[in-house]
């Protein structure tokens, strides 16, 4: 056993030992409770009697007449819908250029929860926070209820008539028509747009993406002759080098990549191998936080790093070297290149830059390494984000030149999320006809004449080709809530084709996909099967590509030119947060309140800055008064933004997230943060997310409070909650990194479980438990939103988060750690310069010896015979003793009534009739004054058990799963029954067979990596954590 010498901290305040932080950390909630201070006028006995008298009178009056409740059955009950029995439909989440195969759970005909589709070969059942939250967006009150003409409600006939007439006139005069959209994943929709183009031949379809990947498309066009994005397979990679690609958080297909990446991080005694991951980046991203080696670099250094790696590989591969700019002192570049070469064909190099030249070099590196065909594949290219920045730029120029007569904005919002917003706004006035299919009156829709709102994806029939030959179907899970119409059907209608889109879709499938298979001979059966599976796969693309090395030299020259070591000016790296993303779902309160995996901030946008830079600018962060704002000037435009001191931020850089600063998204999102889209710049015809010059900062001295959850619920110095080791140590000893606390008694040391007052429990039926692999948890936080949707967890708003009253049942604790001590200011800055990061999902641990249970005066929290710690809301009187006695601080108290309360109107799932449709009818909406916490989704356990009982059998492992574990894209959470010796969890923990008389709670876990957080307290949790293993060499400090 080796003592862990690292310093762990959750936030800068804790690292600095800020006195304010220390004082507050003693108590769970920061506020001062004014007890016994009623202005000297204390409540008298008389007051008590009066109140009590009134109370009894009121109660008796209220009891006189029970309200009459109605039971209203269907008039004609649909065959497949049985009240209280959920139905599941396979469908596809689509938003902008993203698509994920999902399964939608509906109750009484309304979707209430989204799960991943396990049949998908891409996401394999994983989801993300945005996918989980999208079901709430369906019930957004801000959606348009029908078509509009110049802002006035009209009927569809008027809109169709007007648009068709205008189009006919424009087409007759030879006027230009443009359809602008994000990447359209649906082949059938593309066909419908094609029909429209056929009818009006002057039409062009322009696609752009808020998060552009045009640089990659261009690079592949140059190196392979075809603009495409290959598919990646991180699971095959032993060495992964990423230059600013946040592939676990936001890059192209993060759920798919998380699944693959996590496979390389699973480790156990028989398999002591894992991938090694190098990350070079400016902002601390989710991916960087998971890297084994992370080097902070400035955006101007990305070119240098890529070129340097290229040259090192080239010299080994016998290719010619390229021009490279002088690269300053960047750690791990050589090591990364060496390992890439050592694992030729089993390595992967990716870059997040949207500069085609950088991507050309990256392609060159992967080609030299022979990674095409193993970790990279051109057989099934990814279809996400195919937008063309060049074409879009041309469109905006033409629009401004008055050359375009009609423009259709097809489910896109370029006025908000394109860098050419200002030119677009002035150009739109020159078009004779402008139409938007937006679902809400957003920034673009506000400026058009006609709005023909599209269905939400949960209301429509459609398909989506996620990869070449991998088509996922979209089927409606609810009848359209409003008078909306599917956009492709609108296009067909305007093109004069009066066909229902469903028929059109089936026809397309009959002609194109049905013929590509011969397993099923009847189309209806083929259709039903595809609909049931949610997807259909055809042959991939079997074109062979030749890698063209000619493009390399040019690209390298450009890179050397464009990425010069800058002077000391500040550089800005614009990024996406896992929750808000590109901002299209900003009006979703679940996403706004999700604490960012890295900064742990909610409800805000801010400039991230290193501690050294903050100190230099005289900016301090303090929980009491908050932080300060700065005036951020980018190429002449100035905005005032708060600063968040972010450990790991590269020196001389700042970060700013996209997706905020909405003005027309709706009540929840409007006015939060600043919009970073106008700051995006262009390079080689592509929109790029790094601003390498023209950035300046000026402290304003104004204070501002960012609602961060990072410093809530700390462990008061008991830091063996995180147990970690390096791979080298683990290879020698599977117990590496483990801490075995011992208790001293009567001259001897005992294991905590050996001296106990507790009698243990016998769980004869089930013994539910969970394991959390900290090695594969990427911190993405999909689980937190899954939990929120499943368990009706309220949103409390920024003010209440500041009061530490967020209600999340599962939180992701993010710990920074550094090897060096943090005494003086210099040491502090060093510690915060590039810390290691560990994510630890934390929820109720369902202790066998639960400290909360013993202190409840009314037995509202009790233990079940299945190992669960039960919380009974209707019995709770709100003493909060349990929360005070919980060592994990996972109990959340309802300080307010969050439902039907105007003060919490941002909690839209509980404050309007439409939003309430998302609530899970099997879970109580909690009242004010009661405690709540993770129940291990007891409603799912009960439903699963009942399903088994009805079929006269035991439940099968995996059939009952909790919401967090089923959403997890990296399979880090495993839930199951320890009484079933063959369950995944029993096998993972290597449960020893019980001897006679041994109680369920005395089970021996043989897996060395498994530990209990705060084992010394002997609360005996039913949640095990697996040690974090980093693939790091202890000895070498720098290669």
């Amino acid at each position: 056993m080796k003592e862990n010498q690292k310093t762990y901290w959750k936030g800068v305040e804790q690292l600095k030992n800020d006195p304010n932080f220390i004082a507050k950390n003693e108590s769970e909630f920061p506020e001062y409770l004014p007890m016994n201070e009623q202005g000297g006028d204390t409540n008298s006995r008389r007051d008590f009697l009066k109140l009590m008298g009134f109370g009894i009178a009121a109660a008796s009056l209220a009891a006189c007449e029970a309200p009459v409740r109605k039971a209203i059955p269907y008039l004609n009950k649909p065959v497949d819908v049985d009240p209280s029995v959920p139905n599941y439909y396979a469908s596809t989440y689509v938003n902008g250029g993203d698509g994920v195969s999902v399964v939608v759970k509906t109750r009484e005909g309304r979707p209430i929860k989204i799960e991943g589709n396990k049949k998908s070969n891409i996401t394999r059942g994983g989801t993300s926070a945005q996918v989980e939250a999208s079901v709430l967006s369906l019930y957004d009150k801000e959606r348009l209820t029908g078509p509009l003409k110049s802002g006035a409600e009209v009927d569809w006939e008027t809109v169709d008539g007007d648009i068709t007439n205008a189009l006919t006139r424009i087409a007759a005069a030879g006027g230009q028509i443009r359809i602008v959209s994000n990447t359209v994943l649906s082949p059938t929709t593309r066909k419908a747009v094609g029909d429209f183009v056929e009818k009006y031949p002057t039409t062009q379809h322009i696609s752009y993406d808020a998060i552009s990947h045009y640089g990659m498309l261009e690079a592949n066009r140059k190196t392979f002759g075809e603009a495409m994005i290959p598919s990646y397979d991180f699971s095959q990679a032993k060495t992964i080098v990423s230059v600013a690609a946040d592939f676990l958080g936001s890059w192209i297909s993060p759920i798919e990549f998380s699944k693959q990446y996590a496979q390389t991080r699973k480790i156990h005694a028989e398999h002591r191998e894992m991938s090694r991951h190098y990350q070079f980046e400016s902002n601390l991203s989710l991916t960087g936080a998971n890297a084994d080696y992370r080097s902070p670099i400035k955006p101007t250094q990305t070119g240098g790093v890529v070129a340097a790696i290229y040259n090192m590989i080239a010299s080994k591969a016998g290719q010619s070297k390229v021009t490279a700019s002088q690269l300053g002192d960047v750690a791990h570049v050589t090591a990364a290149a060496n390992e890439l070469w050592a694992n030729k064909g089993k390595s992967l190099m990716v870059a997040g830059s949207n500069d085609p030249d950088i991507q050309v070099l990256v392609n060159g590196i992967n080609a030299m390494l022979g990674n095409y065909g193993t970790t990279l594949s051109t057989e099934r290219p990814l279809h996400f984000r195919q937008g063309n920045d060049q074409a879009y730029k041309t469109f905006v120029d033409e629009l401004n030149g008055g050359k375009i007569d009609a423009v259709f904005f097809f489910n896109c919002n370029p006025v908000y999320n394109s860098p050419l917003s200002a030119q677009l706004v002035s150009g739109m006035k020159k078009a004779k006809l402008s139409v938007s299919t937006s679902d809400r009156m957003d920034e673009t829709a506000e400026l058009v004449t006609y709005i023909a709102p599209d269905h939400h994806f949960l209301e429509q029939w459609n398909d989506a080709e996620l990869k070449t030959g991998h088509i996922s179907l979209i089927q409606p899970t609810i009848a359209p809530i409003f008078s909306t119409r599917q956009a492709p059907e609108s296009f067909l209608k305007w093109a004069g084709a009066n066909i229902e889109y469903y028929t059109y879709l089936q026809n397309h499938w009959r002609e194109n996909y049905f013929t590509q298979q011969d397993a099923i001979s009847d189309f209806q059966m083929f259709w039903d099967k595809s609909l049931y599976d949610g997807l259909f796969e055809t042959e991939g693309n079997n074109k062979s590509y030749n890698f063209n090395f000619d493009a390399i030299a040019d690209a390298a020259r450009n890179v050397a030119q464009n990425y010069k070591k800058s002077d000391n000016s500040v550089e800005l790296a614009i990024y996406q947060k896992g929750a808000i993303g590109d901002g299209s779902m900003a009006n979703n309160p679940w996403l706004q309140e999700m604490s960012d995996p890295i900064s742990k901030a909610t409800w805000d946008n801010y400039v991230t800055m290193s501690m050294a830079m903050a100190n230099e600018m005289g900016i301090t962060m303090n929980e009491e008064v908050g932080t300060q704002t700065v005036n951020l000037t980018v190429n002449g435009a100035t905005v005032e933004v708060p600063v968040l001191v972010q450990p790991g931020q590269a020196e001389g850089t700042i970060g700013l997230a996209l997706g905020y600063g909405r003005t027309k998204a709706g009540k929840v999102a409007d006015g939060i943060g600043v919009n970073a889209y106008p700051f995006l710049t262009r390079l080689n015809g592509a929109t790029i997310f790094e601003v390498m010059g023209g950035v300046s900062l000026e402290a304003t001295g104004n204070t501002y409070r960012i609602a961060q959850t990072q410093t809530h619920q700390t462990y008061m110095g008991r830091e063996n909650v995180i147990q970690e080791a390096t791979l080298g140590e683990y290879k020698k000893d599977t117990k590496a990194g483990r801490v075995y606390p011992e208790i001293y008694k009567d001259g001897k040391f005992y294991k905590p479980s050996e001296i106990t007052l507790w009698g243990g429990h016998e769980y004869s039926n089930h013994h539910w438990a969970m394991t959390i692999d900290m090695n594969s948890c990427t911190g993405c936080s999909a689980c937190t939103i899954a939990c929120q949707a499943e368990n009706n967890v309220p949103v409390v708003g920024k003010e209440e988060v500041l009061n530490r009253r967020e209600m999340a049942w599962i939180r992701i604790d993010r710990y920074y750690s550094a090897a060096n001590p943090a005494g003086n200011k210099k040491e502090l800055e060093q510690a915060a310069a590039n810390p290691e990061v560990t994510f630890q999902p934390m929820m109720c641990q369902h202790c066998n010896n639960a400290p909360c249970e013993t202190v409840c005066p009314v037995a509202a929290t009790t233990h079940s015979t299945e190992g669960l710690n039960q919380m009974t809301y209707n019995r709770c009187i709100g003493t909060r003793y349990c929360a005070n006695n919980c060592p994990y601080k996972v109990r959340r108290f309802n300080w307010f009534k969050y439902h039907d309360n105007k003060q919490f109107d941002k909690n839209s799932s509980m404050n309007n009739d439409l939003g309430k449709m998302v609530l899970n009818p099997d879970v109580t909406v909690r009242a004010r004054g009661v405690m709540e916490k993770c129940t291990m989704c007891v409603q799912r356990i009960q439903a699963g058990k009942l399903a088994a009982k009805r079929e006269n059998r035991r439940p099968v492992d995996g059939e009952i799963n909790v919401a967090c574990a089923s959403s997890c894209p990296s399979d880090a959470l495993v839930f199951g029954d320890l009484n079933d010796p063959n369950s995944r969890i029993s096998l993972q923990l290597q449960i020893k067979e019980r001897e006679n008389g041994e109680k369920a709670t005395d089970r021996v876990v043989k897996e060395d990596r498994a530990y209990h957080v705060l084992e010394e307290l002997n609360v005996s949790p039913n949640v095990w954590y697996m040690t974090k293993i980093r693939n790091k060499d202890k000895e070498s400090t720098e290669a």
Partner: protein
């Protein structure tokens, strides 16, 4: 396709047996119908399983014709093919079949996947029923059940009698004691001179009722009793707040369970379709009512309300009788399908109710009592095998719901 299926299902109710009137040249096949008790029992079971009684009675015309004597009217082969697929028979132009179809408002009997022997068994049951009509006892039998939870304790009516008898005995003893006292007192008074002073005082003490009533002890006791009684009543009263036992609101349609479930013995699940699959038993939707009422009692003003609803598209707003608080989770399928509990156990003699009323108090105490006293319906259910084994290893009592966590909070509250 789905629509067709639904229609078929809907019509199903109306069918079958239309074996009617004119069958001059059919030779009597009564004797071909077996009379073995075994076969009759099998027939009775099938009759229940396939809910024949939804449309047929033995001696009365319902949706379909009365079954009695059908073997006199038709060929057995004809009956077999009719039951198996009446549509085909009608389409084949069979005279009898077409006539039957026309007579019964063109309602079709659904097809049943029964073998010839099974159909014969049903006919055997019908014949037996016709020839040996059961004594009026059927209604009584199915109605046990509700008092079963009190097993092992003394029934309430006996309790009252026992208490009454005890009180009478105690009063008699009291009288005897008073008599003895007065006799002894009298005797001692006669011998007064022989007693010492203290004893004499006792003997000569006279009893004053007023003094007795005014004594602090008596006042104390009476005050205590009054307060105790009053508090008990108040507390009992408070406990009944929100308890709607006996609640029998008027419904928008005067639907009678007594007619449907009692008189016509339509199975509960026929209308309450969710009872074995879900949390709610389901109030039937109008299309279920229409299975029969598109043909039966069409003139009744109550039935007209169904047509009005169908016409206007407005569903019928029934008044909810059984209101559990939102904080309690109750699942019908767990109790009915898994637990095998009779509907009447909680809902009372529903088949005798003209207007449905809440039979049970639906309080938590009532739930808990039942969970304490009810044995788990574990037989043949693989889910419980290991639990039963473990239970039997340590106990001779049958395994109650409470023994496997049936009293835990989050079985019902989450």
């Amino acid at each position: 396709m789905v629509a067709q299926k639904t229609i078929l299902k809907t019509l199903t109710g109306f069918i079958a047996c239309c074996f009617l009137v004119f069958s001059p040249d059919v030779s009597a096949q009564r004797e071909a119908v077996p009379t073995e008790a075994e076969i009759i029992a099998q027939g009775e079971q099938l009759w229940g399983e396939y809910v024949c009684n939804t449309c047929h009675k033995v001696n009365e015309k319902l949706v379909g014709p009365a079954m009695a004597g059908v073997y006199d009217r038709r060929e057995l082969d004809w009956i077999y093919s009719w039951v198996k697929n009446s549509t085909r028979l009608i389409q084949s132009g069979d005279e009898q079949a077409v006539a039957l179809y026309e007579e019964y408002n063109q309602l079709q009997m659904p097809s049943y996947d029964l073998s010839d022997d099974q159909i014969l068994a049903i006919l055997a049951y019908v014949r037996d029923y016709e020839e040996n009509p059961p004594v009026q006892a059927a209604a009584e039998t199915s109605v046990e059940g509700s008092s079963s939870s009190a097993e092992g304790t003394i029934p309430a009516q006996y309790l009252n009698i026992i208490i009454g008898v005890l009180i009478v005995i105690l009063v008699l003893i009291l009288i005897v004691l008073v008599l003895i006292m007065s006799v002894v007192k009298k005797y001692l008074q006669d011998k007064k001179e022989d007693l010492d002073e203290a004893d004499a005082e006792v003997v000569s003490e006279s009893f004053s009722l007023m003094a007795f009533l005014r004594s602090p002890t008596v006042i104390g006791i009476i005050t205590f009793l009054v307060i105790a009684l009053a508090s008990k009543n108040v507390i009992d009263g408070l406990y009944t707040i929100g308890v709607q036992q006996g609640y029998a609101p008027q419904q928008p349609i005067a639907f009678s369970h007594q007619i449907h479930a009692g008189q016509y013995e339509i199975g509960c699940e026929y209308c309450h379709t969710g009872v074995e699959i879900g949390k709610s038993a389901n109030i039937p939707s109008v299309n279920i009512c229409m299975n029969c009422h598109s043909a039966i009692k069409t003139e009744s003003p109550e039935i007209q309300k169904l047509y009005a609803a169908q016409e206007s598209g407005e569903p019928i707003e029934w008044v909810r009788v059984h209101n559990l608080p939102d904080l309690a989770y109750f699942n019908h399928s767990q109790h009915v399908k898994v637990g095998g509990i009779e509907c009447q156990t909680c809902h009372g003699e529903i088949q005798e109710m003209e207007v449905v009323q809440q039979h049970a108090p639906l309080t938590m105490g009532w739930c808990i009592d039942c969970h304490r006293n009810t044995s788990v319906n574990a037989k043949g259910n693989g889910y419980y095998d290991k639990l039963v084994e473990l239970h039997n290893a340590s106990s001779t009592e049958p395994m109650k719901v409470a023994d496997i966590g049936g009293l835990e909070c989050s079985k019902c509250h989450y």
